[in-house]
Amino acid sequence: MISLAGRDILHSWGKFIFTGVGLGLLIGVTLVMAGVYRGMVEDAKVLLDNSGADLWVVQKDTLGPYAESSSVYDDLWRGIAVLPGVARAANVTYLTMPVRKGDRDVRAMVTGIVAGGPGSPGWPPYLVAGRQITRGHYEAVADLATGFALGDRIQIRRQHYTVVGLTRRMVSSSGDPMVFIPLKGAQEAQFLKDNDAILMQRRRTAQNPTFAQPVPGLLDAVVATQTANNFVNAILVQVQDGHLPQDVAEPIRRWKRLQVYDRAQMEQILVGKLIATSARQIGMFLAILALVSAAVVAFIIYTLTMDKIREIAVLKLIGTRNRTIAALILQQAIALGVIGFVVGKITATFAAPMFPKYVLLMPFDSLTGFFAVLVICVLASLIAIRIALRVDPAEAIGG
């Protein structure tokens, strides 16, 4: 038996392919949009993964350290490290700020990590080039997305750092690349004011009548306390095997009077609160795009059918069965959908890395997309089939 659909496609294959490609591009955009949404969620999760922590200890009554600013004293970790069930506790600071290299600056999340060696909480879990930090000062590990290369001298506030290692996919929840530097430098960078501000502060202090007493060293001591910083943003805690994070968190919350979040709560904060609105925005757009794609597919199939309404009339005239005509249209619709999906998937895959923020194409999304495309094609072809079957065979000879 000859395939009517195949024959018809071969008859005008150029048009058919082009239509398929056009449709594919539209499907590609939809897939990318789904990828953008997944990417946002993934960015939030990857941030948590990369910190290597089971628990986040932050300032009481805050949503820190990612969703809200939080500061805790930098010696609190000692008290937490000795609690039962705590394997490791480490200070960490996070601050999104410009990192300069020459006359270019990159917005990056500067992360201060303790000098505990690779595998300590907060350290980048894997590198794509170079090495981890070995010096306690002036070395940095930067994400590839910053555009920095090994050996680059970058500037954070007034200090210069040498890039010794590169990471991939180390980003903040808003997609800013991370730059890891030793904790001391990061504490300084976070709380250190610029030189003008420090000078003004000194002058102000000197003019304060309380300190304007002829007591040797008083003013120096006051200025020193003003410029010192012993805060960090959070304490990352790794839990020992066999302990539940919740059980370890409880005494910290209760006796240390600090806020503690576990992985699920942190995810809830990041995904549920921090990126909720923008994610919904993208989700809305995705829904509209899917609707538009469905409508366009339906229109295309309808138009394709209407284009050959004469031929269908002829087929009816020569006594072709309805089932054959329906199969013709349905097969064409499905073929169009498959071509569209293939082209869409390819476009999406190649387009994804070009986006400035991470686009995550999940196989499950692609699969869902594929079936959605098929369903839409089938539904659209049903309308076309209805029209085709109702065509008057007389049209074949008429006007």
Binding site: I9, L10, W13, I17, D49, G52, D75, A87, V114, A115, G116, G117, P118, G119, S120, P125, Y126, L127, V128, A129, G130, R131, Q132, T134, R135, G136, H137, Y138, L144, A149, L150, G151, V164, G165, L166, R168, R169, K184, P214, P216, N230, Q238, Q240, D241, I339, V342, V343, K345, I346, T349, F350, L361, M362, P363
Partner: protein, 383 residues
């Protein structure tokens, strides 16, 4: 006749659809979870490493002399400026003596008066001695009564006592004058050593309290760097180790130095160990005090042991280890780490041996199920 064009169409269609399908399959396999993870790997070798410690510090003078008055007072004059070289004993300035000079003059006048009193006492004494001697003769001849002789003896004793008193009064007044002169000299601010003036805290006319420094002098031949090392990475720090020093203003210049001492007391708040590092040879143009310096202390070289780059170390399920490649398969091996150097090379005490293939860099986090694809490097050529 109709067969050929149809076939050509079929071929053309296939020419479009087949590459599309091939591309699709490639895309499906090379991206997403099915794709192999690109990694770089090295073969572990036994190497000797030279660990080093890295710290930062500030340039400080070893000896700082804060020169100021011992009493509250007003600065009268100050002859030196910041940057002046001064010699030991040189008068740098003077405090206002207020009434001290007058008191010295009064003391001198008092002394002169006391000397006059002394002369008077001496005269009285000489006369009283002579009288006593004369009356002694007269008494022997029985010309004067015993009572009169006793009176003359008493007069002599009184004169002697007055003389002694006058002499002591002079000694007292001399000491008083001496004390005032010493106080006067104490108002002069003098340099205790050959040095360099680094601060002039008060100008003439300023009232200062006791102990408040007016001039600060340092010994410019004795500089050291007050260096801080993170306690975590300060193992092995001890006196007499060689160090090299990089000053912030001269970052291309490496200066030789030596650890003078490690402070017995560490900074508990900042979790740092403190050490003093001295220059082997002081730079020609002196760095300003307080300048930031980076200090790298070289520790003795360690014997050869299997060495891995620190980028290879991962923590999986709470254990530190590395990913070994055996027959193209990944296996996580816990390792016990030894010393490391500043280039990120870490000696392994247990876990891997020379000849093992170890994953260094990877495009994403690995698991035992990851398929890997070993490449030369993961990023574009780095400079």
């Amino acid at each position: 006749m109709t067969h050929l064009p149809l076939q050509r169409r079929t071929l053309a269609l296939l020419a479009v659809v087949l590459p599309l399908l091939a591309l699709f399959v490639y895309v499906a396999v090379r991206s997403g979870p099915l794709a192999p993870v690109a990694v770089t790997a090295i073969t572990v070798q036994e190497e000797a490493i030279t660990p080093a410690l890295f710290g930062t510090g500030t340039v400080e003078a070893r000896y700082t002399y804060k020169i100021g008055p011992t009493y509250a007072g007003r600065v009268m004059r100050l002859d030196v400026q910041v940057g002046d070289r001064v010699a030991a004993g040189q008068v740098l300035g003077e405090m206002d003596p207020v009434d001290l000079d007058d008191r010295i003059r009064a003391a001198e006048a008092g002394l002169k008066r006391a000397q006059a009193v002394l002369r008077e006492a001496e005269a009285r004494n000489t006369f009283a001695q002579a009288q006593a001697r004369r009356y002694e003769g007269l008494r022997a001849e029985g010309l004067v009564s015993e009572e009169m002789f006793a009176a003359k003896l008493q007069e002599r004793q009184i004169a002697e006592a007055a003389l002694a008193g006058a002499r002591e009064e002079i000694a007292r007044l001399q000491s008083d004058r001496q004390a005032l002169r010493a106080q006067r000299a104490n108002l002069r601010l003098t340099a205790p050593v050959d040095g360099l003036v680094i601060a002039r805290a008060a100008d003439p006319g300023t009232t200062v309290v006791a102990g408040q420094p007016v001039v600060e002098v340092i010994d410019p031949t004795r500089y050291w760097i007050d260096t801080r090392f993170d306690q975590i990475s300060a193992n092995g720090l001890q006196a007499d180790l060689n160090a090299h020093i990089v000053l912030r203003s001269r970052s291309n210049e490496h200066l030789a130095g030596r650890v003078l001492r490690v402070e017995p007391r560490a900074d508990a708040v900042t979790e740092e160990t403190l050490a003093k590092v001295v220059f082997a040879e002081l730079p020609q143009n002196l760095p300003p005090l307080g300048e930031l310096a980076e200090v790298t202390v070289a520790l003795p070289a360690l014997p050869a042991a299997p060495v891995i780059p620190n980028a290879a170390i991962k923590r999986i399920d709470g254990r530190l280890g590395v990913w070994l490649i055996r027959d193209g398969e990944l296996a996580f091996t816990p390792v016990a780490l030894g010393a490391s150097d500043l280039d990120g090379r870490v000696q392994v005490r247990r876990g891997v041996k020379a000849g093992d293939r170890v994953v260094v860099h990877s495009g994403q986090a690995l698991s035992t199920k990851s398929r890997i694809h070993v490449v030369e490097r993961l990023t574009k050529a780095s400079p």
